[in-house]
C-alpha cells in the first residue's frame, strides 16, 4: 500500500466510533488534568495504563495521546486565569496571558490560546505526517556539546525577558542558576548544598518554585492591595471573545511559533520549554511595540501557545521512529507501547501502518474536539477572574496547595511553596523580573550537565564545542541574538536603565 493510502486508512481507524469515544475521554481528561497544576499528564497516563488492559492497543494509545495534548489546553486556562503554570512549557503563557486577563481580556486570551493551539496542533501533525522519518536524523545530531550550545542560545533570550533593567534580569538569572545546583550532582553522584536535608537531595521541585513565585506571590500582592485599598475590581473590557484586531495580530506569531515549536520539540529533553522561550523572544524582537510585552501583548501569548502545542507533536518523532522518549510524558507512552507489544521504530511505519497513522490522524480529530470543548467553556472560565477578590485569592491558594501536595504527597513541598511565595513577593516588590529566574531554573541543570558531559567526552578539550556544524550555527545564533538585544536597547534609549 502506498503512503497516501496508508495515511487515509489511518483516518478510517481514528474515525471508528469506539476510537472516537476514547479520544473524547482522553481530551476531556487531559483538559481537566491540565487545569490542576500538580496533576500532569505523566501521572494521569500512568494511573490509567493498568485500567486499559483488554482494550485494543490503538484505542488506549489514542486516549493517552489525547490526554497529553489535551493537558496543554488545560494548562493554558490555569496560566491565564490564575497565573499558575502547571508545566515549564506554560510559563511563557503567563507572561502576557495573565496581564491580558487582568486587563479584562481573559475571554480573548483563552480564545486566542485555543485557536493558536488548534492551528499549530493541526499544522504540526501535518509536519509529523510528512517529516517524521527525515527528522529522526536531525534529533540525533544533538549530543552534549550541541545541547550546551542550544542552552546558551536559549539563555540569550534572557535579555528579552528582563524588562527594563538588564542588571535586575542578570540578578534573577544568576539566582535561578544557583538554585539548580542544589541536590545530587549527576556527574559525581554527590549531594550539593542540601544542608543535610534528605528532601533536598533531588533538588528544589520546579513546580513548587513556579507555583510559589507566580500564584502564591500574586495572592500576597493582592492581599496587600486590598489592605491598602488599591485593589480595583476587574471589569470585562470589550467583547468576551477576541476582537478582529487581536486575531489579526496573532496570525504571524502562531505561524512562527508553530514552526519553532515543531522543530525544537523534536529534541529530547527540554525541547518543549525551549520552544516556548524562543518563540516568546522572537515575537518580542519582531514586535514594533516590545514595551507592551509582559503587559498583555496578544503576540506574547499566541506565539508560545502555538509553539507549545507544535512541540507536543514534535516530541512524537523520536518516540515513534526511534523508541526514544523525549519527555517524561512520552516516556510513559513508550512504556505503554512496550506493554501492548508494539515496538516503535522505522519499521513500525511499515509493519503497523494502521496503528501509526491511526494514532497520528486521531490527533487531527482530537484538536478539533479540544477546540469545540474549549471555546464554549471560555465564557464560563473567564468569569472566574471577575469573582470577588477575597473569594478568588482563597481559591488560588487552595488550588496551588492541593496540587503541589498531590505531586509527591509531601508536606515539605508545602513549606517550600510558602517560602517561594515570599521569594516571589520580594521579587515583585523589588521589581526583579521572575521570568529570567524561571528560565534559568529550567535550563540551568542541562546547561551545566551538558557542558560537563561534553568535557568528559573530549577529555577536557574545548574544541568539542566547535566541532560540529550544529554547534557553529547555534553559536552564530547566540551572537546574533545578543547583538540584536543591544541594538534594540540602544534604539529605545534605555541604556540609562542598565542600573
Amino acid at each position: 500500500m502506498d503512503l497516501l493510502g496508508q495515511i487515509l486508512s489511518g483516518f478510517a481507524v481514528a474515525a471508528q466510533p469506539e476510537n472516537l469515544l476514547f479520544l473524547l475521554i482522553g481530551t476531556l481528561l487531559g483538559t481537566i488534568i491540565g487545569l490542576l497544576p500538580g496533576l500532569g499528564p505523566v501521572s494521569g497516563i500512568s494511573l490509567l495504563i493498568p485500567l486499559t488492559f483488554g482494550l485494543p492497543p490503538i484505542s488506549a494509545l489514542i486516549m493517552f495521546a489525547g490526554i497529553y495534548y489535551g493537558a496543554a489546553y488545560g494548562n493554558t486556562i490555569a496560566a491565564v486565569l490564575i497565573n499558575t503554570p502547571g508545566t515549564a512549557s506554560s510559563v511563557m503563557t503567563t507572561l502576557d496571558g495573565y496581564p491580558m486577563a487582568q486587563k479584562g481580556r481573559a475571554g480573548a486570551a483563552l480564545v486566542i490560546a485555543a485557536i493558536a493551539s488548534f492551528v499549530s496542533g493541526t499544522i504540526s501533525v501535518v509536519a509529523l505526517t510528512l517529516l517524521a522519518l527525515p527528522l529522526t536524523t536531525f534529533a540525533l545530531r544533538f549530543g552534549p556539546p550541541e545541547y550546551f550550545a542550544l542552552m546558551v542560545f536559549a539563555m540569550t533570550s534572557v535579555a528579552a525577558l528582563s524588562g527594563q533593567s538588564v542588571a535586575k534580569g542578570a540578578i534573577a538569572t544568576l539566582l535561578g542558576l544557583m538554585m539548580t545546583t542544589i541536590g545530587i550532582d549527576l556527574q559525581t553522584g554527590q549531594p550539593r548544598f542540601t544542608m543535610g536535608l534528605p528532601n533536598l537531595l533531588d533538588g528544589v521541585s520546579f513546580l513548587v518554585q513556579v507555583v510559589g513565585m507566580f500564584a502564591v506571590a500574586e495572592v500576597l500582592i493582592n492581599i496587600e492591595k486590598m489592605m491598602t485599598g488599591q485593589a480595583k475590581p476587574i471589569r470585562l473590557e470589550g467583547p468576551l471573545w477576541c476582537t478582529r484586531e487581536e486575531l489579526r495580530r496573532s496570525v504571524m506569531p502562531i505561524a512562527r511559533g508553530g514552526i519553532i515549536g515543531f522543530f525544537v520539540g523534536v529534541l529530547p529533553g527540554t525541547g518543549q520549554t525551549i520552544a516556548t522561550i524562543l518563540s516568546y523572544a522572537t515575537e518580542k524582537r519582531l514586535s514594533k511595540n516590545p514595551e507592551e510585552f509582559g503587559k498583555g501583548a496578544v503576540e506574547g501569548l499566541a506565539g508560545p501557545e502555538s509553539a507549545n502545542n507544535a512541540a507536543t507533536s514534535g516530541s512524537f518523532v523520536p518516540l515513534l521512529t526511534l523508541g526514544v522518549p523525549g519527555s517524561a510524558t512520552t516516556a510513559v507512552l513508550l512504556g505503554a507501547f512496550i506493554l501492548y507489544g508494539i515496538q516503535p521504530g522505522p519499521q513500525l511505519f511499515q509493519n503497523q501502518p494502521e496503528l501509526v497513522w491511526g494514532l497520528i490522524n486521531s490527533m487531527y480529530i482530537g484538536n478539533i474536539m479540544l477546540l469545540i470543548l474549549n471555546i464554549p467553556l471560555v465564557g464560563l472560565f473567564a468569569r472566574i477572574v471577575y469573582l470577588p477578590q477575597g473569594v478568588l485569592m482563597a481559591l488560588i491558594l487552595t488550588i496551588a496547595s492541593v496540587s503541589i501536595y498531590a505531586i509527591n504527597g509531601s508536606v515539605f513541598d508545602l513549606y517550600m511553596l510558602l517560602v517561594f511565595g515570599l521569594v516571589g513577593y520580594a521579587f515583585r516588590k523589588l521589581d526583579i523580573p521572575i521570568a529570567p529566574y524561571i528560565l534559568a531554573v529550567v535550563l540551568g541543570g542541562m546547561l551545566e550537565q551538558s557542558f560537563r558531559q561534553a568535557i568528559t567526552i573530549s577529555d577536557g578539550g574545548l574544541g568539542i564545542f566547535f566541532a560540529s556544524g550544529v554547534c557553529v550555527v547555534l553559536w552564530v545564533f547566540s551572537a546574533l541574538s545578543i547583538a540584536w538585544s543591544i541594538v534594540i536597547q540602544r534604539r529605545s534609549g534605555t541604556e540609562k536603565a542598565l542600573l
Binding site: S46, L201, P268, L322, T330
Partner: protein, 330 residues
C-alpha cells in the same frame, strides 16, 4: 437501603469466613482488613512505577487480596523518603513497598542512613539485568572487542548511563576489574534520562550505553543498535534479549542484577510476612505476570523472606567492594 447494606456486609462476612475455613494455610492467619497501600518510592510514570500499577491491576483482577489496594508515590532522596514514610506505620501489614538497591547503596555512599535492616524484607520478585549496546555503525563489534579496547586503554570508550554507583555503572566497573583495570579510569558520562543517553549513543556522541533490559528491548526492535552483552548469570529464556550473549559466555565474569523485591515497614509479624509471601507467590503464577516479565526482558527471582535477606546481604557485600574501588564510598 440500610437493610441491603447490612445484608451485603453479612454475606461478605460469611463468604470471607467460608474462605478462611475452606483454605486455611498453616501460617496465614493474618490478612488485610482494610485498603492496602502500595508505596512507590519513585515518581509516577517511571518504569518501576508502571510495574507496580500493573501489579495492582493483577491483584484486583485475580482477587489476590480480600481488600482494595492503592498505589501511592512518595519519591525523593534516592527512594529514602518513600521507605521512611512506610516505616511510620511500624508493624502494620497494610503497607508494602518495592525494595531496590538504594536500600543499601544510599547508606554506603552517604546519601541516607536508611537500609534494608530498617525495613521488613518480604520476598524477592524479579531481576532486570544490565545490557550494553553500541550503535550499528560503531567499530566495536562484540563484547570481546570492547573488552580488548578497555584492556589496552580504559579511557578509549565513552559510556553513557543514568546514575553513578547504580547497577548499570557497577556492571562496567566489574568488567574493568575483570580486565585488571582501575574502574575509576572509565570514561563515564551521566545523563538525566535514558532517552537522552540513547539519543547520544545513536548519534555517535558517545560510544556505548549501559542500560536497562526493558529500555533496550524497544531500542533493539527499532533497529540501528548492536547489543554487545547482558550481565545475566545465564541467557534469558524468552523475549527479544534471548539472543544476546551473556558476559560470562564471552569469558568475563560480569553479573549485575537490578533486583526488585517486596518490603514492608519494620516490625511486621511472622503471620503478616507469611501472608504476603504467599500472596506474591500466587501473583507470580498469573499469566499477566509472566507476560509482563517476557515483554520487559526480566527474570523471575521469587524468593521467600529468609532467602531474600541472604540474597540482599550477598549483593550488598559484592557491590560495596565495587563501590569502594570506584571511590564512591568515603
Amino acid at each position: 437501603m440500610a437493610h441491603t447494606g447490612y445484608l451485603t456486609t453479612l454475606s461478605t462476612a460469611l463468604l470471607v469466613g467460608g474462605m478462611i475455613v475452606g483454605s486455611a494455610p498453616v501460617l496465614a492467619q493474618w490478612k488485610p482488613t482494610r485498603n492496602v497501600e502500595f508505596i512507590v518510592p519513585l515518581a509516577a510514570g517511571g518504569g518501576t512505577d508502571v510495574t507496580v500499577r500493573h501489579l495492582q491491576a493483577m491483584f484486583q483482577k485475580h482477587k489476590l487480596i480480600p481488600t482494595t489496594m492503592s498505589v501511592v508515590n512518595k519519591p525523593g532522596a534516592a527512594s529514602a523518603i518513600g521507605y521512611a514514610y512506610m516505616n511510620q506505620r511500624r508493624g502494620d501489614g497494610h503497607y508494602v513497598s518495592i525494595g531496590m538497591a538504594p536500600l543499601y547503596i544510599n547508606a554506603l555512599t552517604g546519601k541516607h542512613p536508611l537500609t534494608y535492616k530498617d525495613v521488613t524484607l518480604i520476598c524477592n520478585l524479579y531481576a532486570e539485568y544490565t545490557v550494553l549496546y553500541v550503535r550499528e555503525a560503531s567499530p566495536i563489534k562484540s563484547g570481546k572487542d570492547l573488552a580488548e579496547r578497555l584492556r589496552k586503554d580504559p579511557k578509549s570508550v565513552s559510556f553513557g548511563l543514568t546514575a553513578l554507583g547504580a547497577g548499570h555503572h557497577l556492571s562496567i566497573a566489574k568488567l574493568a576489574t575483570e580486565l585488571n583495570q582501575d574502574p575509576r579510569d572509565l570514561r563515564v558520562v551521566v545523563f538525566n534520562s535514558a532517552g537522552e543517553a540513547a539519543t547520544a549513543v545513536r548519534g555517535g556522541h558517545i560510544d556505548a550505553l549501559v542500560g536497562s533490559a526493558a529500555g533496550t528491548v524497544a531500542q533493539l526492535q527499532a533497529g540501528g543498535i548492536r547489543v554487545l552483552g547482558i550481565a545475566a548469570p545465564k541467557r534469558l529464556e524468552h523475549g527479544a534479549l534471548a539472543e544476546i550473549p551473556t558476559w560470562r559466555e564471552q569469558g568475563y565474569n560480569v553479573v549485575t542484577v537490578n533486583w526488585r523485591g517486596i518490603v514492608g515497614p519494620a516490625g511486621m509479624s511472622k503471620e503478616q510476612i507469611a501472608y504476603w509471601e504467599d500472596t506474591f507467590e500466587r501473583l507470580t503464577k498469573t499469566p499477566e505476570w509472566k507476560a509482563l516479565l517476557e515483554k520487559n526482558g526480566w527474570s523471575e527471582t521469587f524468593q521467600r523472606s529468609e532467602e531474600f535477606a541472604q540474597f540482599v546481604r550477598d549483593v550488598e557485600a559484592e557491590d560495596s567492594t565495587l563501590l569502594r574501588k570506584l571511590g564512591l564510598i568515603k
